[in-house]
Amino acid sequence: MSDLDSFRLETRAWLEANCPAEMREPARDESDMCWGGRNPAFTNEAQKDWMEAMAARGWTVPDWPSEYGGGGFSPAQTKILKQEMARIGARNPLMSFGISMLGPALLKYGNEEQKKRFLTEIALGQIRWCQGYSEPGAGSDLASLQTKCEDKGDHWLVNGQKVWTSYADKADWIFCLVRTDPAAPKHQGISFLLFDMASPGVTTRPILLISGNSPFCETFFDDVKVPKDQLVGALNKGWDVAKYLLGHEREMISGMGLGGQTDSLGAGLADALAEDPILRADVARFDVDAMAFRAMSERFIDELKAGQAHPAQPSMMKYAGTELNKARHELVMAARGSNALEWESDRSKKGKAAREWLRTKANSIEGGTSEIQLGIVAKRILELPGA
């Protein structure tokens, strides 16, 4: 038996022994997932046990180095752990923008002190992070952001406004793009700053969306004082960190295309499709696309870990994955008909299908619109001329 085979068997045995039965069922929605944080809101004991058991082994971030709270796994070991978790339907123990976005950026751009401090907290699920990128005047044109950050000698002083800050009202800390040199060309005057959302001068206001939910906030900074050692990377070089992090954000969002652990959309809608041949054909075409995308996702991760992926490939993945997810929910709505239109009834789990359908419309906007991704692919991968 090879080392990887025995690793697989040991991993399987540990997961079987330690993953609670409740954590082998899919989460109902984002609010039913474990997000950790200073004041974690666990929906049950199983969720807490599962996160802590996984974090204790570094398995919330299996491929991070063990000195920063990770598992120190090779790409092959990480893939096996993911496969074995999928085999028993184990939930992700910890949803975290710290893991999917900030962590990779800190690993690349953070200094040793920052890595030790922040990565370990992230791995253990002790701090919940939010992302301060978009502003009212800086959406697709992100680099035109205006949030001001001044050097006051012994601290930074931050003033401005962010928008579309996911879960800012629930987050403990923010990773934030700020303008440190207003005179420089727009990409060259930006820095990447970390600070506590409990700092005086920070306020958040949830935004009510078409889904009736408020996962995003407006976030205001009014003379917020930030310690000097919380700037990541070099002063005025924050755009490099920002772009690198965006790659990881896009990678995460592209995962939407996988549609959880369901293998076939049509399999779950068989009754409705039996009487509707045109819709059945649409769903069958969708399943072809979805299974092909699943293979693409596996290939992308394999290539990424082997250092073979094109640096702009996350843009392709984000584009394809989010467009696929929107198509999935359109088909679900069509197959379930007027049952899926109910908005408040218990029968509909308070409009779960309709609210999820509406939520997916943000997928191709957040983290850079589909059009922004296509532009990146055209210029950086296909090397087409212009802009």
């Binding site: 790409p75 039996a274 399943d287 299974m291 293979a295 394999d302 073979q308 210029k379 087409l384």
Partner: protein, 371 residues
């Protein structure tokens, strides 16, 4: 197994890529045989060169003189064939036919000819204009020491020049496959030039007598053999489609970087950039699906059949998009015979029909998934 090529596979790809771009190039092969009206539609010298490079033995076991490799490796060669539109009996002979004979007594009889680049094989499966293997009606009646075959087949790729034809027919025991050698009494072959200038054939079987040893596998056991043949053929055709699509995209993107209108390179226009980027995305996804299907087939996985359907459907649609966008973005010159892009469009259409089109495979996938 990671979903990318290992070092040995990259070496094979580099060999196949260099060889096909040089010897299998459109000017040297496709246009040459087309413009000289060749009745075979491909060059036997090139088929010999395939053999010398070892390509023909990729799927033949080492014990039978082959390389004992798998569908990933066969697909590497097929993608390069697709890129260059190289006319070749590789898919029917060295992939589908070789797979059919695996584990049967007929391997010893036919593998040496395939390995040497002497034998050309064809598959006689379709009986109507669409691929419907579930509805095969051709009969094989017991007769003397063997069987008597009667019925019609069409779209028999390489059928006009085949030394041996794998024929699917029904016996009382059920679906059975036969290896029928060329020149059999009662077999009428009409070579048919297709849109892409390859040669298919229509075949009339009028009480064609074959010995019992022409049966591939067991009498009535043709379903399993056919499924093996079709999995291999579909995955191979999908790999070739990826090559067709990739070359069309490369050619088109090059054109967008050179052609000027309104005082600008047309590649600067967002309307074209977005479509090119979407096409890139579709082709990347198709390539991943094809490789996944190849790996699952090589592993003998239960999930292979569903993934083969996905691969053929996805590669077909992605390649179709590539050739359509290719002709459109080339504008008027895309309609001329002088430019190669139109040749890709014709090859894509043929490959999409071969072994089931995207609609057939989407339906097949839905059935496998229970809806």
């Amino acid at each position: 197994m990671p979903l990318y090529l290992n070092d040995d596979q990259i070496m094979l790809r580099d060999t196949a890529r260099g060889f096909m771009a040089e010897e299998g190039a459109i000017g040297k092969q496709l246009r040459h045989w087309r413009d000289t009206g060749c009745g075979d539609g491909f060059g036997h010298d090139l088929w010999k060169q395939f053999a010398e490079l070892g390509f023909n033995g990729i799927l033949i076991g080492e014990e039978d003189g082959g390389l004992g490799l798998g569908h990933v490796e066969a697909g590497i060669v097929l993608e390069e064939i697709g890129r260059n539109l190289t006319p070749s009996p590789f898919l029917t002979s060295a992939v589908a036919f070789v797979e059919a004979l695996k584990g049967t007594a007929l391997g010893a009889r036919f593998y040496p000819g395939v390995l040497a680049g002497d034998t050309v094989a064809a598959l006689a499966i379709d009986e109507g204009p669409k691929h419907r293997p579930e509805g095969i009606a051709m009969r094989a009646e017991r007769s003397g020491n063997g069987f008597s075959l009667s019925g019609r087949k069409q779209f028999v790729v390489q059928g006009a020049s085949a030394d041996v034809i794998l024929v699917a027919a029904r016996t009382d025991e059920g679906l059975t496959l036969f290896a029928v050698e060329k020149g059999a009494n009662g077999l009428e072959v009409e070579g048919v030039r297709l849109a892409d200038s390859s040669i298919g054939a229509r075949m009339d079987f009028n009480q064609v007598e074959v010995d019992a040893d022409a049966v591939v596998g067991e009498v009535g056991g043709g379903g399993a053999v056919l499924s093996r043949v079709l999995n291999a053929g579909r995955t191979g055709a999908a790999a070739e489609l990826v090559g067709v699509g990739a070359a069309s995209m490369d050619m088109t993107v090059d054109y967008l970087r050179q052609r000027k209108q309104f005082g600008k390179l047309i590649g600067e226009f967002q309307a074209l950039q977005f479509r090119a980027a979407h096409l890139y995305s579709e082709l990347e996804i198709a390539r991943a699906a094809v490789m996944k299907a190849q790996q699952l087939l090589d592993e003998g996985s239960d999930e292979a059949e569903a993934m083969v359907a996905v691969a053929k459907a996805k590669a077909g649609r992605a390649s179709q998009l590539a050739v359509q966008e290719g002709v459109q973005m080339h504008g008027g010159i895309g309609m001329t015979d002088e430019y190669d892009i139109g040749l890709y469009m014709k090859r894509d259409r043929v490959l999409n029909e071969l072994f089931g089109d995207p609609a057939y495979h989407a339906d097949a996938l839905a059935r496998m998934k229970g809806y």
